[in-house]
Structures are given as structure tokens and as C-alpha cells.
Amino acid sequence: MSAPALVLENVHHTFFPGTPNEQRALEGVDLVMEEGAFVLVVGNNGSGKSTLLNAISGTLVPDRGQVRIAGLEVTTWPEWRRAGMIGRVFQNPMSGSIAQLTIAENLAVAAKRGGRHGVLRNALGRGRRRELAERARDLGLGLEDRLDTPVGALSGGQRQAVTLLMATLVRPKLLLLDEHTSALDPNSTEQVVRLTEQLIRSEKLTTLMVTHSIPQAVALGDRVLIMHRGQVVESIGGLRKRQLRVEELLATFDRLRSADLVDESAAEMVRRLYI
């Protein structure tokens, strides 16, 4: 049996330790994702979702714990090195592609993810250009006719679609989606979500998707993780996930939020009493 696509073991991280701004972003996260799993992560601001994603992608080296991708221990690998195994789409549509380069050029760079970058061949020689156009056509957005347009000229939705294609052009062991539709208008959101599902299904991609959207968390994937204060407090999978309804997930959130409010008012009281 092959190793799980992703394993997190007791991952801890604290920002600004030992200062008044100390913030415990991750407090012992464990996670195992088997190949082909599609997991969603939801949680309020500050719950540690982003830090979790950063620890996996290598933007950040956690204080403690282990990150393993496809059986390889990558906890301290630099971001670019593990990118050979990871495809990423960011929240900001500007982040994932290179504005100055054309669609074709962006795709050509992405086609070499994790590979060698030689100097002997034109990156967009005839055969390769045709191949990339073929892949762009699969998106169904007509981008194959605009291969020489700079990516910076595209709309946010189109740009996320291109980034999605770039992230999966070389099949990643793990696809990381960081609220990749939250900066888009409703139409583009729908389009990008459809594209995401289509790519994940057809390529059988192992996917970890962070989202702010409860309906997305309910409709997509086969497991939902709820994060709260740096921990995974709930994992809804299997039959329960399939039967999950928006109201139920919202109720769970409300419960967590009211627990927070109690804490807040207690803290406020302490502040008033002693300061």
C-alpha cells in the first residue's frame, strides 16, 4: 500500500512567542489524507487555516511536528522544492500567475513544475505550444485563442481558472486551494468551482481546500474539517458528510462562536477588574 498523500503529525506553531502579541496559530494538528481524498477546511478568521496551509506548502516551518507528503518528510524543505509535489491556487487571483507573461508562457513555466529548466529548447516550440493550447481548451473558456495575451489582462475569474490549470498541468501529489474563490464575483465563483470539481474528478487529485463559504463546504469534497483556535475540533466525513446540510454546519459554527463570546466577555471582565 502506498503512503498517504499527506500526513500532519502534531503540528504546532506560535507567532511572536514570548511577546504580548503571542498568538498560538496551530496547537497540535494531526491529519491524514489518503490518495484521492478531497478535504475541506472551514473556520473563523484566526482559527489557523492559513497557517496550516502555509506549513504544508512550506511558506512557514512549524515550531514542532512533522509534515509528510507522499511518504516524504518535507517539514523543513523550502517552498520551491516541495512545489514539485504541490499545486497551489491562492485567494488573490494576482498571486498564482505572472501578470507580465502571456497565458502560453505561464502555462509553459507551470508545465515544468518540479522539472528541469533547460536552455537548449524554446519553451514554446511548436509541439509544446500546441500541447498547452490543448490543455487550455479543456477549460472551455476560450483561452486557447488568447494564448499570447498577458495574464495581467484577464479578469479575476479567468486568472483563477488559468492558475488552476497551472497548478494541475503537472499532476500534483497534493492540490492546495486557499479560499481560491473568495475574491470572485458570484458568476466567476460558480465557474471556478465547477472547474475545480471537474479537474479534481477527472485527474483524481488529492485536494485540501480552505474555504469561507459554508455552502461550498457542504456541497464539495468528502470530508470537512472545522478548525478553531489552532486545532481541528471537528471532522465530518463519510455518510455524515454526504447528508450534511448548511443549517447543521452553521449551527456548529454558532456553537463555537458563542463559546468564543463567553471567553471574550470573561476576558473583558478580567480587564475591567484588574486594569
Binding site: F90, I98, V109, H117, V119, N122
Partner: protein, 312 residues
């Protein structure tokens, strides 16, 4: 006429400098102050080697290689120590001052009668049985005025061709990607630090090459001849962009070439019109300020204009 052909020769060889500035400033999105140092370094290496009997072509290539080293130093200071290229370049340029002095043995070194690339071009001119003197309409001019053009044109076009091809290979594209958006580049598996270093190496090689040709054209090298070259390069770059825009890579590369020649013609015209020699650097700096600051100024003026209208 002399002045015109002189400007053309100077513009040609300096377009290598502009090409270097283009790589760092536009492709990699950073200002590299190593430029001043590597220009002087290239001149120093070329003059010292030619002076000690090395073939000028070998000396010129060695000068370019010295530029690579200078660029690599700034790059590694950035990658390994986290000091940005702006400061790193100043540090390397400062250090290079000593190294140039050691290489040349003094602050000023003449080539004397040693054979240079333009001299070789002169022999070539004769071997090809091209006319000497050259007659243009009424005037006749010595061929020695034209032969440098020959060798500079060949060298510059070759460099441009190689660079343009390189920027379209996988590695060249990766370098442009890293310069354009480091976050995306890292997510696509590119070591952005190494890519930045690669850009600095290439750029400073070109700049040092320009320095080497400059020294051979003038017949001497001076330890401070690199001072302010980054500004000259920027001036030529933005002038070229004014002509050809920044829409495609081809236009941008052609722009470095056009801009530099236009800049040298402007300089020649300004000098002929009575601009004193010593005012040149000030004029160049003012030009760069105007060119780079123009768009922001226009936007601000528009704001003022609209405000007046809104008030009625």
C-alpha cells in the same frame, strides 16, 4: 559627421549596458547598483589584459566573465545573507574600487599602442578591401572612424540575439517568472533566489562587456569611469521604452538598442548646442527623474484639474 558616427559607435557599445539594466530593472524587477562597479571592472580587466599582451578578444571575454563574478557576488549576498541588491550592489561596487585599482595598478591606465578590438576591426576593414577613406557626398572620412562600428555591431547584435533566445528557453522563462511574481514562481517550483542571482550574473556580464568595449574605444580605463553608469543605463532604457513601449519582449529588447543610440545622439546634440561637458551627469539624472516621475506627475496634475472642474 565625426560626432554622429562617434555617437553611433558609443550608442552601440553602451546598448549592452542598457541591456544589462533592462534585465535587472525590468525583467527581475530590482535595481542593481553593481552596474557601476562591473562597468569599471570590465574596463579595468580589458585594459590590464590587453596591456600585458593578451589578445583583445580574449581580454574582452575575460572582462565579461569578471562581470559575471561581480553579479554572482551581489546575488549570493542577497540569497545567503538577505541583503537586498540595492545595498548589496553598493557594497560590491565599493569593494570593486580597490580591486580595479589593483588590476590596473593605478587610477588611470592607457592602452598606449596595444592592439584593441577596434584596431582589429581596422585590419579587417582593409582585408575586406572596403574603401579608405570613405567618401560620403562632399566629405571624405578616414575608415578608422567606421571600423569600430563594424566590430561593435557584430558584438552587440550577437549578444542581443543570444539574450533574446535565452529569455525564451525554459530557464529564461523561469527567470522572467521569478522576476515577475516571486510568490507564484516559488509555488511553481522555482528557486527565486537562484533565479535572481542568474539575472544579476547575466546583466553584469553584459555591463562589464560594455565597459571593456568602452575602454578600448577610448584607449584608456579610469577607476571612476563606472560612476553613474546605472543612471545612464536607466536613461537609455526609458528613452527606448518611450519609442517602442513595453508591450512585447521583442519591442523591449529593440528598445534598449534604439534608446541608447538616441540617447547618445541627444548627448551629442546637447554638447554641440553648448551644454558644458561637466553638466552631462546632472542633465542625465534630471532626465531619468523626469521620465520615471512623469506618469505620477501627470496623474497628480489631472487630479488638480478635475478638482477645479468639480468645484465649477
Amino acid at each position: 559627421m565625426n560626432l554622429l558616427i562617434g555617437s553611433l559607435s558609443m550608442g552601440l557599445l553602451l546598448s549592452l549596458l542598457t541591456l544589462g539594466v533592462f534585465i535587472t530593472f525590468r525583467v527581475m524587477g530590482r535595481l542593481d547598483l553593481t552596474t557601476d562597479g562591473s562597468f569599471g571592472l570590465g574596463a579595468a580587466v580589458a585594459v590590464a589584459l590587453i596591456g600585458s599582451g593578451v589578445h583583445p578578444l580574449v581580454a574582452t571575454l575575460a572582462a565579461a566573465a569578471a562581470g559575471w563574478l561581480a553579479g554572482a557576488t551581489t546575488g549570493l549576498i542577497y540569497v545567503l545573507l538577505g541583503i537586498d541588491t540595492l545595498l548589496g550592489g553598493i557594497l560590491v561596487t565599493t569593494g570593486l574600487y580597490t580591486i580595479q585599482l589593483r588590476i590596473m595598478g593605478s587610477g588611470n591606465r592607457s592602452l598606449g599602442g596595444a592592439s584593441t578590438l577596434p584596431d582589429i576591426a581596422g585590419h579587417l576593414w582593409q582585408a575586406l578591401r572596403l574603401p579608405d577613406p570613405v567618401s560620403l557626398g562632399e566629405t571624405t572620412l578616414p575608415a578608422s572612424l567606421f571600423s569600430p562600428l563594424l566590430v561593435f555591431t557584430v558584438l552587440v547584435l550577437f549578444s542581443i540575439w543570444v539574450l533574446a533566445r535565452f529569455l525564451r528557453t525554459d530557464l529564461g522563462l523561469a527567470m522572467r517568472a521569478a522576476g515577475g511574481n516571486a510568490q507564484a514562481a516559488r509555488a511553481l517550483g522555482l528557486d527565486t533566489g537562484m533565479m535572481a542571482t542568474l539575472g544579476l550574473v547575466l546583466a553584469n556580464g553584459l555591463v562589464a562587456l560594455a565597459g571593456a568595449l568602452f575602454a578600448q574605444y577610448q584607449g584608456f580605463a579610469n577607476v571612476s569611469m563606472g560612476a553613474g553608469m546605472i543612471v545612464t543605463g536607466l536613461a537609455c532604457l526609458v528613452l527606448g521604452e518611450g519609442f517602442l513601449g513595453r508591450r512585447t519582449l521583442r519591442r523591449q529588447i529593440a528598445g534598449t538598442f534604439t534608446g541608447t543610440i538616441a540617447f547618445r545622439l541627444l548627448v551629442a546634440a546637447a554638447l554641440a548646442a553648448g551644454l558644458p561637458d561637466d553638466a552631462l551627469k546632472l542633465a542625465t539624472a534630471v532626465f531619468v527623474v523626469a521620465a520615471l516621475g512623469g506618469p505620477a506627475t501627470i496623474a497628480r496634475m489631472r487630479r488638480v484639474f478635475v478638482r477645479e472642474q468639480v468645484k465649477g
